[in-house]
């Protein structure tokens, strides 16, 4: 039977993988808009793929925090892009699109899973007999 923690870990891995794939696919389109935006998308895709791959191999609070921070950063950046624009990377305000909303929804699920995993629980427990 799949435990809650295992499900949350898998959700986080899939969220990072889906977001990585979508960001990678959007690199050429954003390179046409401007080099900084395209490079930012490429860097995001690489970081997400690295986080996803790392999470399949090991699970540590630092890795979970890093993945959560990356996903939150992408969500905040998108919110800025559709409201005020992002200086240097995407100065113009971007139109809201379905694909972007889907990606952000996936990332929100990933953040939720990472936060849940970071809470003290069965995933990170100290062995019996050890002190703090």
């Amino acid at each position: 039977m799949i435990t809650r923690a295992a499900l949350q870990r898998d959700l986080l891995i899939v969220a990072c993988a889906v977001s990585a794939g979508i960001h990678a696919a959007l690199v050429p389109e954003h390179l046409e808009e401007g080099r900084p935006a395209g490079v930012a998308f490429a860097v995001s895709a690489v970081l997400l793929a690295a986080a996803s791959a790392a999470l399949t191999r090991s699970l540590s609070p630092a890795l979970l925090a890093g993945a959560a921070a990356l996903l939150v950063g992408l969500i905040v950046t998108y919110l800025l892009a559709v409201t005020t624009g992002v200086p240097v990377l995407h100065p113009e305000v971007e139109a809201v699109e379905g694909l972007a909303l889907f990606t952000k929804a996936v990332e929100v699920v990933g953040v939720g899973a990472a936060v849940a995993l970071l809470e003290p629980g069965p995933m990170f427990t100290r062995p019996k007999g050890t002190l703090a």
Partner: protein, 93 residues
């Protein structure tokens, strides 16, 4: 120290998820692009449909020559309208 009770998703499956996500994203964005280009072509085609008075007169003359029939009332009227209001039509060099 961490303890994991179950194996996570395999790396290969994760890579597949990312790959198919990229494919889906490309399909969606290409669909949007094609739609946008279709609209652009439609708009771009509109000015090309406009003809000059000279072109219309030439077309009418060619029709007469080809069919051996005189100009219809509509042909005569259209040529006349263009000559009456030349500012509404492009004037060919």
């Amino acid at each position: 120290m961490k303890t994991t009770t179950q194996r996570p998703i395999p790396l290969a499956l994760t890579a597949l998820v990312a790959f198919f996500s990229a494919l889906a994203a490309l399909a969606v964005t290409n669909g949007h692009d094609a739609h946008a280009h279709g609209i652009d072509h439609h708009h771009a085609g509109a000015p090309a449909a406009a003809i000059t008075a000279k072109q219309l007169a030439l077309r009418n003359e060619m029709r007469v020559l080809a069919a051996g029939t005189p100009l219809t009332m509509a042909d005569t009227l259209s040529t006349g309208i263009i000559k009456q209001f030349p500012m509404r039509f492009r004037t060919g060099a």
